[in-house]
Symmetry: C2
Subunit: 334 residues, 2 copies
Amino acid sequence: MVTIADVAQAAGVSISTVSYVMSGKRTISQDTKERVERAIDALEYRPHASARSLASRSTNVIGLQAPLRSGVDVHVVMEIVAGIVREARMHQYDILLLTSDDAEGLHRATRASMVDALLLMDVESDDPRIATLRELATPSVLVGLPRGAEELTCVDFDFEAAGRMAAERLIALGHRRVALLGSPREVIDRHTSYAERLSRGFLAACAEHDVPATVHQCPTTHESVRVLNAVLAEHPDVTGLFIHNEGALAHIAARAATIDGLEAIALCPSDIARTVPTLVDSIDLPAEGLGSAATQAIIALLAGESTPKVRLLPAVLASSRGASEPERAEVAGR
Amino acid sequence: MVTIADVAQAAGVSISTVSYVMSGKRTISQDTKERVERAIDALEYRPHASARSLASRSTNVIGLQAPLRSGVDVHVVMEIVAGIVREARMHQYDILLLTSDDAEGLHRATRASMVDALLLMDVESDDPRIATLRELATPSVLVGLPRGAEELTCVDFDFEAAGRMAAERLIALGHRRVALLGSPREVIDRHTSYAERLSRGFLAACAEHDVPATVHQCPTTHESVRVLNAVLAEHPDVTGLFIHNEGALAHIAARAATIDGLEAIALCPSDIARTVPTLVDSIDLPAEGLGSAATQAIIALLAGESTPKVRLLPAVLASSRGASEPERAEVAGR
DNA sequence: GTGAAAGCGCTAACAG
DNA sequence: CTGTTAGCGCTTTCAC
């Protein structure tokens, strides 16, 4: 194994000089700097992560609790994680994958100094992990927007604005009764915050326009078609649909396309929307961007910068009907 | 921060005694052992991971390169990862998520002593990372079965047996011309080893029974229905389908159910199969089990136990037609 | 501008 | 059965 001592010897300098060349924490003459860098390259030296973290009291690792549970939209989760990992690497951070949903894992990782910070996904409205975070006092960011998290930093997509936007778009298209076909039962029962915010925004906008609207749970499978059928049976005047359920999307959209006068909008990543040509419009769910944004927030926290407590990525309408410029919802604060 | 010295002081023993109580590497009197354990609990002591790994020269972390790329079956990938994380935790290991597909990441993680071992998913037939692994000489396990990996440990599902099994089942059901609707183009082009093995087994079994068979790429979307239509247009006598494409599965199965005489079998996780009631049978893809098995292999390697170079999880037919006992393919070696 | 040396918290000889 | 101590490889004072 190549150590800093080997590099120092090869470059004819002291150990501390090598360390300072790497950290840039003091001025080094051009000459020695180059000698050291050459030695580092020649020996393919990589500082021992544990030794570094023991001495510096920081690991450059972020702990991530990602949901591997049922009902979640796996595609979206994967994209968010991809965004997190990519952004983290850009800032020299690595990601430690913690098993989801246990406060114990958070304890372990932080108390054992395995991580500098925590990133939690799939946060519920009243998530027990929030109490744990408070007591741990480790820098942390939630991907989501739980209720009682005033002092925690949250990053999420603006689901409420997306709900409003979808409603307004459907109404603008002339629909006079609309329905939101949303997340599956597990997600609703768990009080996952995004589902609640989406339907709140949707219903509020419909109410403002005096357009009757309903919200429905959907399984993530072909079964979702039955939900659509039931909705139409009960309210034959529904002509506008807003779909937020990736597993159900293709099935519902396909079925809807066979019914005259029915139009559907979806909330999903844009690459998914592209595979469902019968959609009128879609609202982009910027999953990877969410991951990047959350990681940026964590890194800002770690750098001691002041960050907004809540950052919501704006909803953007990706109109299939050739809108020249995408509409934007303003960033919301709290 | 609570250190081992704090625990030692609280228990009235030396720090080495505390260390040995934790590791069990020497016999300790019942009395001191209990005092130490009480102190550990009372102080909620967790050994500093970096200090421990610096002294012991092992991190208890496994590096994982999971694919976040396109064409992969996200659901399956998530389940495999879930299996890996769960099994790793059972053995006191954590998972460091490396960005996929770069040999550089493997170098970084190992040279910096961040991980004890590596786990690679989504391996291609001629994967460039294999050369890197060889030169790194870090214990590693591949989830997959590339061509030139004689000295590497591989764990995978027995796709070839699954292909044979599907063919034989369709033939037993009376079908005299069959088709495999498989992975999307990206996966095929990348020479992902599982796709090749699956179709090899399928075609071989069909040839042995003199049943004509064809293999087709499928997009992971609704578009896959067009592939089915094209197949039927070209070979109207196709009556048996074997589907291995999670995104396409529901669409193809739904379409197939509308065509008289057509029967379909799928290869997918059993919970997915359950959502597609029109399948005749399905072969279970034990994704989570694959993750566990791969992790077990890694842990065996790290423990210096001798492990088989190749372990293939057997294909199991989950007949929807009330087979009393699932058929099993024998474990293959190499 | 550069070095020497004192830790960081732990493990594992070595010494009883 | 238990304690003392020399590192593990690095960062960061302190000294020049």
